[in-house]
Symmetry: C2
């Protein structure tokens, strides 16, 4: 997600980029960004630092590690956290930035939509941030988002809403997989089932979007299923969901079942495959049905 976001931002602002992969830095430079040698180098003089990383460990490394951005962040700067790391990680990151005493604030702004929409400024971004910090970040967020929802006024609120988004998305993908697997098991054509049901009371965005790729997994084009969103993203995100639900003492039996299913998918070797491939855990390819 970082590269298309950097590309999109470089069309409107001066952008210095750091990525651990040199070839991705080079691709950003081709689109008008300046290359930085370290996160600290990238953050120097910046009003807004945008973080797009995988998990909390990478957040900590990019901000507080050797050559981390926190070393050079100037007073009044804001850090925009676009990753899904959970409310607790957002709050502790905000606290760690505040402890440095340089008036650097965190804008908790996890994004949804995938790389293509990131490159087009068409992301859904849900924000928890102090109004003054949000004001600094807003031009950057507006450049990236087609829909910006400010759900609360403190870091962690954006992550909380994003977690609920992922609960629904992850459960709906798993439900679509059960529907397609059961269709096969009952001798019905999966694509016909999807066409019949996806616009009615059984419909979801995920059933309409992932369903056809699940059906494709059993056809001649099975090996051509494009990886639009990796399965192991849901191993991470459903882990966040069930963790925060447990901390809040809210039972989430379906999210828990979905988490186990994604873990099974990861164990079955599907971590880097499209998340729609989870259907093959329930109904393996090559079986008669």
């Amino acid at each position: 997600m970082g590269l298309p976001m950097a590309r999109r931002l470089a069309g409107a602002f001066p952008v210095a980029v750091f990525d651990i992969a040199a070839e991705r830095r080079a691709l950003a430079v081709e689109h008008g960004a300046t290359e930085a040698a370290t996160p600290a180098d990238a953050a120097r003089d910046a009003d807004v630092v945008v973080l797009a990383v995988r998990d909390q460990a990478q957040v900590d490394g990019a901000l507080f590690g050797e050559s981390g951005a926190a070393q050079t962040l100037k007073a009044g700067a804001v850090v925009v956290l676009t990753s899904t790391v959970g409310p607790e990680a957002a709050r502790s990151t905000a606290a760690a930035l505040a402890e440095r005493g340089k008036d650097v604030r965190l804008v908790d702004a996890p994004v949804s939509g995938g790389p293509t929409r990131a490159g087009n400024g068409d992301l859904l971004i849900v924000v928890g941030a102090e109004p003054a910090a949000l004001e600094v970040a807003r031009p950057v967020l507006d450049r990236l988002a087609s829909t910006l929802t400010v759900i609360g006024d403190k870091p962690g609120d954006g992550q909380a809403l994003k977690a609920i988004n992922q609960l629904l998305a992850g459960v709906h993908i798993a439900a679509a997989a059960e529907a397609v697997a059961l269709a096969r098991g009952l001798g019905l054509d999966p694509q016909t089932v999807i066409d019949s049901l996806s616009q009615g009371a059984a419909g979801s965005f995920m059933f309409a979007d992932r369903g056809p790729r699940m059906a494709q997994a059993y056809g001649d084009e099975a090996d051509a299923v494009e990886v639009r969103s990796r399965l192991d993203i849901f191993v991470k995100d459903m882990g966040i969901v069930t963790g925060i639900a447990k901390n809040a003492h809210v039972p989430v039996p379906l999210a828990s079942a979905a988490e186990q299913l994604y873990l099974l998918g990861e164990r079955a070797g599907l971590a880097a495959r499209d998340d729609s491939s989870i259907v093959t855990v329930l109904s393996p390819r090559g079986e008669d049905r």
Copy 2:
């Protein structure tokens, strides 16, 4: 569902009605139907017998019980089974009709949409039936359905597709309940969460439809939540789903978790409440959040 369907049909065809409740027979008569004293009486001379009952036991009673319709059904008549009873029940009913030797065939045609849409001829009907039997029933089905999907050519196929519909619908309602309960647990306003997420990748028909009633369960209007679809319908339907999935050896961990949740709701006294009330099992009313 039987009454609005009878009312809708009486606007186009001569209809004889039987219901175990005399006041419902009377309501149908007010809308132009003729009252019958027994199922056998209602089926006499009929080309098409429409069955709208709760479960397989009621199907057996209405067709094969004392004064059941099978006693009077004429050769060439078709029985349209609009209830959700599962593929096996549809197949055994078709076989039991065939054994009578009078050339009476079953049109397996479970419906979705609820009473209001039934009265307006706006149902989704999914059909499994021999083409010749379907031909006899088609004017009746066309009068009731805005969407008619013929998924297969034998009784049981309609039930199979309806079961997949109910798998998705039941899981999506339970997922919406988890989302609303988690929103409360995290201190977010449920209705704001629904408004933020229901049109994006987390969206489902059920989240948009049941979500607001779930949020309403915690407000001043909690006791005014209208019963549009009873919770115990999903106890029955998720039971059908997990039963046929087990018979087909297809794992459905989310549908199983949803089934348990609806059973918990029934045990909590919610059987006759709106199915959206399932959220109160996860996050009881009156708690701080």
